[in-house]
């Protein structure tokens, strides 16, 4: 194998694929990236057995062939090469090494045979749809923070992606995530080809990689799904991932319908006040108490070890007075996802879930479990 590729192109691509490779691996080949030179260019592929990323970069192939080398080492080398350098990769010489040459630097890397590199057999996809990168990214961004890290409830360790009938009777592509403390839901009008989509749970690591792939807002993503795999293609990058094999809970009954106390508050003022009063809260108890009265909200935090804090905000609230506590970090997570200027909270009582959303938009909503205060 012999191939020449521009450093910038190679670096960009390696930065995509090397992240998939876990830092610690018990199976040596999983630490490697597969590089394959052909007439279409240079193909790079990395996998952790659950997630696979393949990208093709333009290259000048002298001699076709393939091998695998440690991904993080190759990434670090290319990163440190001078800008604008032409990188020459050559394998097939003695002792199974890959030679990396650029200007006057020369590296020799140990390889493992290409034939040993695992393939994430994708199988057939039942549904394929195209969606604007920015739109799909939004679904993921709005819900990603609520994904659970709790291993015992593995079916919450991802975003539940499915098609459902929205409020306006339209078919919507909806993403939902929850960790039991909060729930996030975002949706967009279902793109053509998404009808009848099976409900799937996209794992957290895959979600993070999809976010990275969609950094370019103008890009278009092609999403393919089966009951066991998801594939997202953006330009020359193809990400394929297993899905979480489990049943996402019936989240519909978690979303409060009858909360009758409405609070409207300036989102930025609210977030800043929560952030300020929570300065005195302890590492463990992050509770902030909201005391609601007509036209007024008093935020307070009491930490027996360090002190207390209160702040008053003018709000739009006309229901009967209510004291309710929330985890301040969760409140900030949610307010940072709101897009409009004002937040709307629908409350029932201090022990029941509270609904939070933009007062002007309906395509995303959040549910938050109160804390005892």
């Amino acid at each position: 194998m012999k191939v020449t590729v521009e450093r910038a192109e190679l670096l960009k691509s390696l930065s995509h694929v090397h992240r998939v490779v876990e830092r610690r691996n018990t199976i040596p080949i999983l630490a490697n990236v597969l590089i394959k030179a052909g007439k279409n260019g240079l193909e790079l592929k990395a996998t952790d057995l659950d997630l696979e990323v393949v990208e093709i970069v333009p290259a000048e192939t002298g001699q076709a062939g393939a091998t695998t080398v440690p991904a993080h080492v190759l990434y670090d080398i290319v990163r440190k090469l001078p800008e604008g350098a032409q990188v020459q990769l050559e394998a097939g010489g003695e002792r199974g090494t890959l030679t990396v040459k650029a200007s006057r630097a020369r590296f020799s890397l140990q390889t493992l045979p290409e034939a040993d590199f695992p393939d994430l057999a994708a199988g057939e996809f039942s549904h394929t749809f195209k969606v604007k990168g920015a739109d799909f990214r939004r679904l993921v961004d709005k819900t990603q923070f609520a994904i659970s890290t709790e291993e015992t409830r593995y079916y919450l360790n991802g975003i539940y992606l499915h098609v459902t009938e929205g409020a306006g009777g339209k078919s919507m592509l909806r993403a939902v995530a929850t960790d039991g403390h909060r729930l996030a839901q975002a949706e967009l009008e279902a793109p053509a080809g998404a009808a009848g989509l099976p409900g799937v749970i996209v794992p957290r690591k895959t979600v993070a990689e999809i976010q990275k792939l969609l950094e370019d807002k103008e890009a278009e993503a092609t999403v393919s799904l089966s009951t066991t795999k998801i594939r997202v293609q953006v330009g020359s990058i193809v990400l394929t991932s297993k899905l979480i094999d489990g049943t996402f809970p019936d989240y519909g009954r978690v979303i409060p319908q009858g909360n009758d106390k409405t609070l409207i508050v300036d989102k930025d003022e609210f977030a800043a006040a929560v952030d300020r009063v929570s300065t005195v809260s302890s590492e463990r108890g992050r509770a902030v108490k909201l005391s609601l009265a007509e036209g007024k909200m008093t935020l307070s935090v009491t930490n027996p070890d360090s002190g207390s804090a209160t702040e008053e905000l003018e709000v739009d609230y006309t229901a009967e007075p209510l004291d309710i506590g929330f985890n301040s970090r969760y409140l900030l997570d949610i307010t940072s996802q709101l897009e409009g200027d004002t937040a709307e909270l629908k409350l029932a009582d201090p022990g029941s879930p509270t609904l939070v959303r933009d007062s002007t938009r309906t395509d995303a909503l959040y549910v938050l479990m109160p804390m005892r205060v």
């Binding site: 929850t178 039991g180 403390h181 108890g285 549910v367 479990m369």
Partner: protein
């Protein structure tokens, strides 16, 4: 040379002679530093056995062992049984071989706790600086209490020992020294009903001939390492340069070089907050099958849960402890998503850990503990998706209420009904 001294029975001065000039008692204490030392270690003598003998006079003159059945271990042996060689932590069959005429009683922890609390309360009347080490022993720092009690710490302690005998009906041994390390050693020198003083001046010479394992914190493993490096007695440590010990064993080495001369700067820390709540039991016969193990585990989980609920606390880390038939200890821990005080949650986590350990090994002991503690208000928060917590809380609350009203036996989980395991030794 006349050192300050007094009679432990009538507390009058006794600077010389073998008997008290006032009452004729031979129980005199005399020491050059007697009036200046103020750190004490107080240890109840054969505590569990003493409480039982107090409550049943027919036991007073017979050897008494508190512990499990044939298979358990000795938790306390009275001094009569100790003459025959019976020791704490000795397997029961061995103890009974040494002393076949001994009376064996199962521990009645509730009774001991009451007596222990009584003694603790009396200590706290002497000084606020009481650092409990266990149910029946504590460090006391009586510095600056002379004016308050109108007597030196030594006399205050002697009076306290008398008061415990009178009011609680058990005896204690007192070790008085300049620091915790020496006080702990001193209380062991003259047991039972003892009062011994270990001054700073004599400490180095006193320690010199003792083995290194005499030092608190130097166990078999570290002791072996020290012996391999040529340190057999404390004198060997005294001869070594502190810098050399520090180089060999790090911070621990420096500590050793100071302790070897009886120097210890640790303060008596009152109010050691509980760091964990646990319960364990030793089986009558070794067990390897999941079913009996999980039954015992459930009972222990309930016990831990009870104690957490009573103390108004909860914990986030659950630890399973197993000791195999060949005395190998296994501990496995799991951190929960949220702190809990519920028996079902504690048991759930511990049982999961247990299932992985059941591999044909025979176990002699099982225990479960909860640590990473917090107030009960932060425990078992409501969950959006999983509503079982609320249901569990309600169910356990109802069970606890019934048991409070009708006794512990009023309600039993099905899992315990075919339990053949018995629980002897609790901690």
């Amino acid at each position: 040379m006349n050192a300050p001294g007094f009679c432990r029975d009538c507390l009058s001065d006794a600077p010389k002679g073998d008997r008290c000039p006032a009452c004729g008692s031979p129980r005199l204490v005399r020491h050059g530093e007697l009036d200046t030392l103020s750190v004490a270690h107080v240890d109840c003598d054969a505590f569990f056995a003493a409480v039982e003998k107090r409550d049943d006079p027919s036991l007073v003159d017979v050897p008494l062992i508190i512990g499990g059945g044939k298979r358990g271990v000795v938790s306390t042996a009275c001094y009569i049984a100790r003459i025959k060689g019976v020791r704490s932590a000795m397997p029961m069959f061995k103890a009974l071989a040494l002393c076949p005429e001994a009376v064996v009683l199962k521990p009645n922890m509730e009774k001991y706790r009451t007596a222990g609390r009584q003694v603790r309360a009396m200590m706290q009347q002497l000084t606020p600086l009481v650092e409990p080490l266990s149910i029946d022993e504590a460090f006391l720092d009586l510095s600056g209490t002379q004016a308050l009690h109108g007597a030196s710490p030594a006399r205050t302690l002697a009076r306290f020992a008398q008061a415990v005998e009178k009011e609680v009906g058990i005896t204690v041994s007192v070790g008085l020294a300049a620091n915790k390390f020496l006080a702990k050693i001193a209380s062991d020198l003259d047991k039972p009903r003892g009062f011994s003083v270990l001054g700073q001046e004599e400490a180095a010479a006193f320690l010199a001939p003792r083995p290194v394992t005499f030092i608190w914190g130097v166990g078999a493993a570290f002791g072996g390492k020290l012996a391999k490096d040529g340190f057999h007695t404390i004198a060997d440590l005294q001869r070594a340069a502190p810098a050399d010990l520090a180089r060999r064993y790090g911070a621990e080495g420096l500590r050793l070089s100071r302790l070897a001369f009886g120097l210890d700067t640790r303060a008596v820390e009152p109010e050691r907050e509980a760091k964990s709540v646990s319960a364990e039991t030793t089986f009558e016969r070794d067990m390897g099958a999941l079913r009996p193990l999980e039954q015992t585990l459930y009972a222990l989980s309930e016990e831990v849960s009870d104690r957490l609920k009573h103390a108004g606390i909860a914990g986030r880390a659950v630890t399973l402890k197993l000791k195999s038939a060949d005395f190998r200890l296994r501990t496995r821990s799991r951190t929960l998503e949220a702190p809990t005080c519920l028996a079902a949650r504690i048991n759930g986590a511990a049982r999961e850990l247990l299932a992985k350990e059941v591999d044909g090994t025979l176990f002699r002991l099982i225990g479960v503990g909860v640590s990473d503690l917090c107030p009960i208000a932060d425990a078992d928060p409501a969950d959006l998706v999983d509503t079982s917590t609320e249901r569990l809380k309600a169910a356990e609350g109802a069970m606890d209420e019934l048991r409070a009203r009708f006794g512990r036996g009023a309600l039993t989980r099905g899992i315990l009904l075919d339990a053949t395991t018995d629980r002897r030794k609790k901690k």
